[in-house]
Symmetry: C2
Subunit: 719 residues, 2 copies
């Protein structure tokens, strides 16, 4: 059994001896040297691979100061203003943090800015407004009293959002503000490349250039109280400029409006149904970023160094499931692992040599203090990620923060030692083979499809929001299940559902990108899916699937699901919701159901429906038959062990393959198994922190009853 | 103090002596003689006014049998059917109760029936379908596989819904089914009049003809299990016929489609935003019913009898707040009093000489049995209605059912004696004067306006539904408050808000008639209301007021309300919802708030907002300033004593008249007062069944502290 490798640790200063010890115990083979400081010769002799972070957009603040017109820009929208008269003065910077933004008045504001009547949605003719350059006011004339007006405008980002966040959070006082520059400008881009080349020349000991990241930060806007106003981890608004819009026009053949970015003030949040224009913009920026990032990667490669990308911060334009990502030529991606979903988001990334996950907790004083529970957090984070690792492992794991802090907690050091050992054992045992999965794929259907694989219904990765946890549970369950999962969009449906897909899941709130909105009144989508289920496909709807209120129903696939949601128009219909007591999909779920926030007003619309759970009179869980196909409706699916099992059973049931479920199976919902048939081994895991007894099935036969200790992983031979 | 009058009791047989006793104790002066049986001479000597019920549409079943083509008809829609091929056979009667309906195939089905593609909403050309008269199947050809199809068709009502309901509920076995005929046919109408004339001639002892009611029953459709399928107390679908559609076309200049009545299967439920076509139809039928009902009333009047209408059952076309109602010339309306709202619905009816309320409980064995609580029910019903009676009293009260049953419960007889006495005392004390009200009117704004006064957000009157109780509380609170209340619609707003309106309330779910739907993206509505509030009006929104998702907001008057609801598009915005601890509107509410079902995702949109209650992170109660005006938002308002007070205080606060609230006022939320300044008397009521101590304010001054016993009403002199 290997005792070394696959683990990265952070450096720290003045603890050489302790570091040597922990490197040995954790089997670390790489070290992340945040500040480019040299390692001591003792450590250098350990032959550790050395990573160094590199921030392409702001590591030369002299350049930033000398080229203020080449800073990164955003399109932002002013607060909403109600006209009291036929003229209005709008303080465009009101509500924004003036340390972060400065209006760009250098470029032609008349063609780049927009005043919009938000009562009608109409753009105001630009000769009706003027700009007061002193006060930052837009004065609009000849308008309609008591209509609402906003100004969309470009601002320079005069404080890098990540540095601003760290600066304000950690009270860095008068430490200078760093400004991010935009590689869209050829001069700046050339400078960025030269700077990288110099840095590489000056740091020959580095093995891996860890880019954080390339060009554009996700959208992070502060308010006038220097607090978060708007945060969209997926947002492209911070990548705008006149030059960008000009080039977009050249490439795509039409010009974007400010409104295409502003999007009524929602800035194209991932919950919005993406417009063609926005998708074009994402494509355009991704291509630009990929093309240019490749030049950075090439510089690293030419110096015989690996290029690793951090999945976060300035990651806009490098979405790893986008069509240009692979062309960047990266060796590796590293990202933070908050749970099974974020683990899969990293480990499934195509076209890189390896992936690495940064585990929790970070070695920061918020956890590593008296009363903190670093051991518990590490164990929980590992256990939730482990079930997903068994499906598609990361190649490496690692930790971040101040190592010295962690070393003060010996039990934590012990715990991580066990985790590293278990991680390497998985790799050694499975020998790069893939765990057994069902003989069909499961597809998650929404407006984003593959581009946002493992990112559905997320505001920011692994953060809890009341509005999303009942949906995020779906992918969190899937992340560790013995199934091949794909993410598809409505275009994929229009092209014809691939034959290897057996089950389609649609989960989200009505009129969001996750549910699908107007796609559900597209005859083609409806008829293709109906026929597909009728001929044997399985369909699972969660929350408000297939929802668009039209022609007497909210759920347009009410016939497939067998249920609909009544938005009170149908209150005059008597609802007869009666429970079916026993059903295959709820067989092993002993405890009460948890559908999270759920949905109200769900009622039976077809006689073939069986209702398995009712909440306050409304259906929370039901099944339906549709031709040779089947469907399940759930009002929500937070991540719980019971819900993992409920989803697994639902998937086999809708696919009409109940009898195949126990090919490799463990009965206790707190346990799961992953069978590696090529190497004749099966991992059985206990996801709970209690002892669990579970029946093990192979090829449908009960072969053994195991008892697993808290969080234990047991390997069985299955040859 | 009067000891007799204003009370109606039901007859019963074989209990003459006991009846004389109870007539004396309750002070009854009228008797409702359900079956037209003669009273004993002893009772006749008591000089009681005598009512007799009359059912115009079904009291001659011989006529019904001989004129089966003149029975009442409905437009109904078949169940939904998914085509599996390019042809489909639709069993149109599937899911309907065949004892209730029979398809009308006598009239031209090709012009009267419609096959609709519910996937697209398009009507199928009538030459694409044929009807199998044997099987009741519509066969549609040349259609699109996996589209959804329905058939809208006319049926004869071969069982009167009220009789069917009673028949099935009480297991009347082989008692013949009564069929309702349609006065739209001149022959039938003539017969109905003659029959009434004969009946009147034969029953000279009757003083009051109590019509139940005139022509058309509300929509009541049973399913194939002989259970309720669809019940709409406001529904006009049971008043259709070819003749009616022909006359509509003549009168209104265009022809209605079946779909105008079917309405995607929702049958124009009151929760739907009424179309112009449907409003035209309501107007057309109301005019027809009023014109013809008047002829019935005239027959009664010519015989020196009073004409009284029962508000229910066959009341369609006689909506008492409609523009034709007064022209019927009725002497009186009687209806069932379930609470304050239904009491006001009756007592506010314009253009009749008197109103009468039937109180609960009915003298039926479901309550009048061992373990039943008739005393409690009577007391609760009276107490909830009494606060509304003090604002606008009924002229008479009464009870229904089997009197003999009630007499077996001596405590009930005592309780009703007290109620009758208290009712008469109110009349004697107030001397037909009106209770003091605020110096401004409160308007409830929705799509129905005046026509559905005191009927907002109701499925059937006084029935509890999870979906409505959080809104119905608004009118239930208002029914007993010292305010003049009007019900207005969006047309009224377009015409200009009347100057006597001080506060407007909009309460309902998004996209329903009660909230207003697309009216909220009408620039005129928006600007008129904004200006009106800005200049000093008060606005109160409950649930999803002013809601229509457009241009970055759901609540189109987000600026007035200061809050909006986020349907997840704005999740990336950080919401800073902080509580304000003290506020005028919550001053007297000591207990926890109850917003009923509430709404999620309500957040602060204006800095001027003060948040008074937060539920699961979302705003449940807030206030805002808007120019000289003000607004309050509540996520729901079930009827509770605390919520009555919360609404009262909100109304005075939004009107900027906090200092005027205590003109006549009692401090304890379980108590209310009604000041009759013209007669110098004030009633103070205890709405609870505990003792309550309350401070009494007159003209802003604390004048007395009263202690009231359970449910007590105390009269004070205020001269």
């Amino acid at each position: 059994m290997a005792t070394k490798g696959c683990v990265t640790i952070p450096t720290d200063v003045g603890i050489d001896k302790e570091m040597q010890e922990v490197i040995k115990r954790w089997g670390a083979d790489a070290i992340r040297d945040c500040d480019g400081t040299k390692l001591s010769s003792d450590l250098q002799n350990l032959n550790l691979k050395m990573y160094s972070t590199y921030l392409p957009t702001r590591n030369d603040q002299e350049w930033a100061k000398s080229n203020m017109d080449q800073l990164q820009q955003l399109y932002v929208v002013s607060e909403s203003n109600i006209a009291l008269d036929t003229t209005i003065s709008i303080d465009i910077m009101k509500g924004f943090y003036k340390e972060q933004f400065k209006p760009n008045t250098k470029d032609d504001i008349k063609s780049l800015w927009e005043v919009v009547d938000r009562t009608t949605g109409e753009k105001i003719d630009s000769n009706k407004w003027i700009y007061d350059y002193e006060k930052n006011y837009v004065i609009v004339n000849d308008i309609i009293p008591f209509h609402e007006y906003t100004v969309s405008f470009l601002v320079y980002q005069i404080w890098d959002p990540t540095q601003m966040y760290n600066h304000l959070t950690n009270n860095w006082g008068d430490k200078p503000h760093e400004m991010p520059y935009d590689g869209r400008h050829p001069e700046t881009f050339e400078h960025m490349k030269n700077y990288l080349q110099n840095w590489i020349n000056e740091n020959p000991e580095i093995d891996v250039v860890r880019f954080t990241t390339f060009f554009y930060h996700f959208t992070l806007i502060y308010n006038d109280q220097a607090k978060e106003k708007f945060v969209d981890w997926f947002g492209y608004s911070s990548s705008l400029s006149k030059e960008c819009l000009d080039e977009f026009e050249k490439e795509k053949g039409y010009r974007l409006r400010a409104e295409d970015i502003i999007d009524e003030g929602y800035y194209n949040s991932p919950f919005r149904i993406p417009t063609k224009e926005y998708l074009d913009f994402v494509d355009f920026q991704s291509k630009f970023v990929a093309t240019n990032a490749k030049e950075f990667v090439d510089i690293a490669h030419n110096a015989k160094k690996e290029a690793m990308m951090f999945l976060g911060d300035n990651w806009i334009g490098t979405e790893p499931y986008g069509k240009y990502f692979e062309s960047i030529g990266l060796d590796a991606v590293v990202g933070s692992v908050g749970n099974g979903t974020t683990m899969r988001m990293i480990s499934d990334i195509p076209g890189v040599k390896y992936t690495e996950g940064r585990f929790l907790p970070y070695f920061f004083p918020d956890v590593f203090r008296e009363g903190g529970d670093p051991v518990g957090e590490a164990r929980e984070n590992w256990t939730q990620a482990r079930r997903a690792i068994l499906r598609k492992p990361l190649d490496r794991i690692g930790y971040g923060g101040y190592l010295g802090l962690a070393l003060q907690f010996p039990e934590f050091v012990d715990e991580v030692e066990k985790i590293c050992e278990e991680f390497r054992t998985i790799h050694n045992n499975i020998q790069k083979t893939k765990a057994h999965t069902a003989p069909f794929k499961v597809a998650v259907l929404n407006c984003w499809g593959k581009l946002r694989s493992w990112q559905t219904n997320q505001v920011a990765h692994a953060l809890w929001y009341k509005e999303i946890y009942s949906y995020v549970g779906v992918i969190e369950c899937l992340s560790g299940m013995p199934l091949d999962v794909e993410f598809i969009n409505f275009e994929d449906i229009r092209k014809g559902i691939p034959s290897d897909i057996g089950v389609i899941i649609n989960a989200g709130d009505a009129m969001t990108s996750w549910s699908g909105g107007e796609n559900w009144i597209d005859e083609d989508i409806i008829t293709v899916l109906r026929r597909w289920v009728y001929e044997g496909g399985g369909f699972i709807g969660v929350g408000e699937p297939t929802a668009y209120q039209k022609q007497g129903k909210l759920f347009q696939l009410f016939d497939v699901l067998g249920v609909d949601r009544d938005l009170t128009y149908g209150l005059s219909y008597r609802k007869y919701n009666e429970l079916t007591k026993e059903h295959f999909i709820t067989e092993e779920i002993k405890e009460g159901f948890d559908f999270g926030e759920g949905k109200e007003g769900i009622f039976k619309k077809r006689d073939s429906v069986e209702i398995l759970s009712i909440h306050k009179g409304d259906i929370a869980l039901s099944t339906n038959n549709y031709g040779k196909g089947r469907a399940v409706y759930m009002s929500g699916l937070p991540y719980t062990p019971e819900n993992c099992r409920l989803l697994l059973r639902s998937i086999y049931w809708v696919k009409n393959m109940e009898n195949d479920m126990k090919e490799y199976y463990v009965s206790n919902v707190n346990t799961e198994c992953a069978a590696f048939t090529e190497v004749g081994k099966m991992a059985v895991i206990n996801n709970s922190f209690d002892n669990q007894t579970t029946d093990v099935y192979i090829k449908g036969e009960l072969v053994e009853t195991l008892t697993l200790k808290s969080g234990e992983l047991v390997w069985m031979n299955i040859k």
